[in-house]
């Protein structure tokens, strides 16, 4: 709408001008307008051609990357698994030094009853265990015992007061009242929990409208009522809604004398972990749906009650691994420069015919499968492998002194230098090709020695190529996974190997996503630098 109005006004303006003496096309349309239209059509056509691929890459690649970034902070599992407990913990002051109130334990009993029924409590246990080691067994053990909890105290008290509480109609009345659910937040959560539990336990045949909920829900109702203000309570008992008033008649006065289900004591008897404040602090800390704990873990820190702290020395892992990845990538990049420079120089100075031959020697490894090259190195570098055999045969080393060149940093550096070398040679070569030999001749004619001419004239001209090649090799190396995994042992692995480990073995996907996000930022920053130096359009292949 806006766009078309603007266009119209532009059109009418150009009309006014054209009405005078502006050039017209054959059809009598002002030339300016006709050109603008053609341009618009051309832009549209270009976009239409690009659109299918753009949509494809967005869906199949960019969304997944976004999903990973989201997963590194996403933490809805706690709130989804124990919704009542999370809500009840809001009122608990984690620094008070006291355990949460009975109300929290009642909510926990209620949430756990459903969680163990649909078998999601162990998953929650493992999640919290990442930040609070040891808690997963607390959840596992409690899950097994939860059915044995005594839970009838509040229920019997309600029924003793008014037998109607034992009828489904009472619950229908309650849920239809105007105070529901605003004043019965926990009871509402508990009722949902119970319905889900019932559906799972009894199948679809069970009709929740024909049954009364289990004791946990009555206990929750009791806690909701006893946390209400006196005026709200009496408003219930004297409600203009007659059935509600009948249901709550006498409840306000009797509440104080209701017996407690003592879930706190019962949980403490099942697993003493529930009496440890650390565990509760961890649960409370991890209850928000968006959380930075994975990122903190990825930089060897953790959030404790006094704020963010470094982990103890012996538990630090990832910062060291990031540093090792960067260090090894720098070593590999340096080796690539040292080995790549002479070859690129040779390629640039030989005749076309011989340089083509050598180029094939460079391109063949480039085109050979990564796994083929890695397996070749694995075979060559073994202690019983070709290189060690050769060295023993020549007499450089003794039979007992065979070198350990694999499953350590040496293995990673040798194999990756070999694999990434073509990525250094090719950009260097394309820069060196453009340096005219007359520069060197001019320098020498003015009396420079070979060395001086090289360092003062030739080398400075190749720095751009070194930069381009180095960033390329560094970017590729920093994210490598396959080769370090196969020849790196434990000392020569990269951060990628840790990411893979968390995805496929430890199943701590959040941490894998956080580590991946950090690596991604690092690579994008480097890539941005590459773009500034070389330009994205100058990426050449082969």
């Amino acid at each position: 709408m806006t766009a078309s109005t603007t266009l119209d006004s532009v059109d009418s303006e150009s009309h006014d001008q054209a009405a005078g003496q502006g050039p017209l096309t054959k059809d009598g349309i002002p030339l300016k307008r006709s050109l603008a239209r053609a341009l618009r059509r051309e832009k549209l056509r270009a976009l239409l051609l690009i659109a299918p691929l753009l949509a494809f890459v967005l869906v199949s690649f960019i969304f997944p990357i976004g999903d990973m970034l989201y997963r590194s902070v996403e933490n809805s599992i706690v709130e989804k698994t124990i919704p009542g407990t999370v809500r009840a913990l809001n009122d608990w002051d984690s620094e008070s030094g006291e355990l949460p109130s009975e109300r929290v334990f009642a909510a926990l009993a209620d949430d756990m009853m459903l969680a163990q029924e649909i078998k999601i409590h162990t998953r929650l246990g493992s999640r919290i265990n990442y930040d609070q080691p040891g808690i997963s067994s607390v959840f596992r053990k409690s899950g097994r015992q939860i059915k044995k909890l005594e839970r009838e105290a509040a229920m019997n008290a309600f029924i003793g007061l008014n037998a109607d509480w034992n009828t489904p109609e009472a619950w229908a009345t309650l849920t239809a009242s105007e105070q529901w659910p605003a004043q019965f937040r926990y009871t509402a959560i508990s009722l949902d929990n119970w319905k889900a539990w019932l559906a799972s336990e009894e199948g679809d045949d069970a009709d929740p409208a024909a049954l009364v909920p289990h004791g946990f829900t009555y206990a929750t109702l009791y806690h909701d009522l006893s946390n209400m203000s006196a005026s709200d309570l009496s408003a219930l008992a004297t409600s203009s809604d007659a059935p509600v008033a009948a249901l709550f008649a006498g409840v306000p006065d009797a509440l104080a004398s209701f017996p407690s289900d003592d879930f706190k004591g019962q949980f403490a008897a099942i697993e003493k972990g529930w009496t440890e404040i650390d565990n509760w602090q961890a649960i409370k800390r991890l209850s928000p749906p968006i959380i930075d704990s994975y990122f903190l873990a990825a930089v060897d820190s953790e959030r404790t009650d006094v704020g963010v702290e470094k982990k103890p020395e012996n538990e630090r892992l990832y910062l060291g691994l990031f540093l090792r990845t960067i260090f090894l990538s720098m070593v590999i990049t340096t080796s690539c420069i040292l080995l790549g420079y002479p070859i690129a120089y040779l390629l640039a100075t030989l005749s076309v015919r011989s340089s083509n031959l050598i180029l094939i020697l460079v391109l063949l490894p480039f085109w050979t499968s990564l796994l083929v090259r890695t397996s070749a190195w694995k075979v060559l570098l073994q202690q019983q492998g070709v290189i060690n055999d050769l060295l023993v045969w020549v007499g450089f080393i003794s039979e007992a002194g065979r070198l350990v060149m694999i499953n350590n940093m040496t293995g990673t550096i040798i194999a990756m230098t070999h694999i990434l070398l073509p990525f250094m040679i090719l950009p260097l070569y394309s820069v060196m090709k453009t340096i005219s030999p007359t520069y060197m001749r001019a320098a020498k004619s003015m009396g420079a020695s070979d060395t001086l001419a090289f360092w003062r004239i030739y080398f400075p001209n190749t720095v751009a190529g070194i930069g381009a090649g180095s960033i390329l090799v560094f970017i590729l190396s920093i994210g490598y996974y396959i080769t370090p995994e196969l020849v790196g042992g434990t000392k020569g692995v990269f951060i990628s190997n840790r990411i893979a480990y968390h995805i496929s073995s430890s199943l701590n996907w959040g941490l894998a996503a956080a580590l991946g996000s950090i690596l991604l930022v690092l690579v994008l920053a480097l890539y941005w630098t590459y773009d500034r130096i070389v330009g994205i359009d100058n990426v050449k292949l082969g």
């Binding site: 832009k43 690009i50 969304f63 499968s369 030999p437 994210g479």
Partner: protein
């Protein structure tokens, strides 16, 4: 310095020959030797990864084709081979068709947000594979494509498109626009112009882009490791697990076959490059 000048001093001569025949020869040896070494080893009659005395003595008894026989008779390897030749062409087809269209679009003279679009389209090539694989694994398992052929094909197609874009764009850079105008002036509609004039000229770029996309998928292992189940194992997947668990000499036979495939691909690419330059009126170098 392509050749030594006649007036070179002894020092210069020594350096020249050292550089060329010692330093450079050593580096080239480093580049090529690992690949060359595994070829004879793959014909060994023993299960060792080193040259046996019989092999060094060129005794025919030291050589055999048993590792190749293993490869062609093992159901694991054959399944992997079949999967590789199912996934790679499918991914190549998607990547090449979408990529070529987009490259033509990108080479028009007025493309809004060209830089941003280019950055998005090239990103699968820049992002480290482990991150792409992690993201795709998370996302595809959400939508139920994890452990499915379709999921791997789509993932590989996404990884291959940047190569198609780059190669086709490179061919289009030298494309003479007056050719399409000439065709139009003689009454050809845009579709005819595309197929009769533009397509024959850019076809070498398209084919080499397709080759790159093919080799990307054919050689890719990280995404397959995460996203595939045992049903979708490909050649690299099988090689990777073989190398990690217990390394069997069959891998050397597979490696040799794959080297042969790369040599064929490399030759095809080089021929295409020359043809493309000839078509565009450049002297092949």
């Amino acid at each position: 310095m392509s050749a030594l000048p006649p007036y070179a001093s002894t020092g210069q001569r020594i350096w020249f020959y050292t550089f060329r025949y010692v330093i450079c020869a050593f580096i080239l040896f480093f580049l090529i030797a690992p690949i060359i070494t595994i070829i004879p080893l793959s014909f060994s009659s023993q299960d060792f990864f080193t040259f046996t005395p019989e092999m060094l003595a060129l005794d025919p008894a030291g050589y055999s084709l048993k590792h190749y026989e293993d490869f062609f008779t093992s159901s694991d390897w054959q399944k992997a081979l079949k999967n590789s030749f199912l996934i790679a062409p499918a991914a190549t087809l998607i990547a090449t068709s979408l990529g070529t269209l987009a490259a033509i679009g990108l080479s028009q003279s007025h493309v809004p947000y060209r830089r941003t679009i280019m950055a998005i389209l090239i990103s699968p090539m820049i992002v480290p594979l482990i991150i792409s694989a992690a993201g795709m694994f998370f996302f595809y398992s959400r939508i139920g494509l994890q452990g499915e052929y379709l999921g791997i094909i789509l993932a590989h197609a996404a990884l291959g498109t940047p190569f198609v874009i780059i190669t086709v764009t490179a061919t289009l850079v030298g494309f003479d626009r007056s050719l399409t105008r000439a065709a139009a002036s003689m009454g050809a509609d845009p579709v005819t112009t595309f197929f009769k004039v533009q397509m024959p000229l850019i076809i070498p770029g398209v084919v080499s882009g397709a080759l790159f996309a093919f080799i990307t998928s054919f050689d890719e292992v990280v995404v397959v490791l995460f996203m595939g189940s045992a049903r979708q194992k490909t050649l690299p997947w099988q090689m990777f697990t073989g190398l990690r668990e217990q390394i069997s000499p069959t891998i050397l036979a597979v490696a040799t076959i794959m080297v042969a495939i790369s040599i064929v691909l490399l030759t095809v690419l080089e021929l295409l490059r020359r043809r493309s330059e000839r078509l565009r009126g450049l002297t092949p170098s």
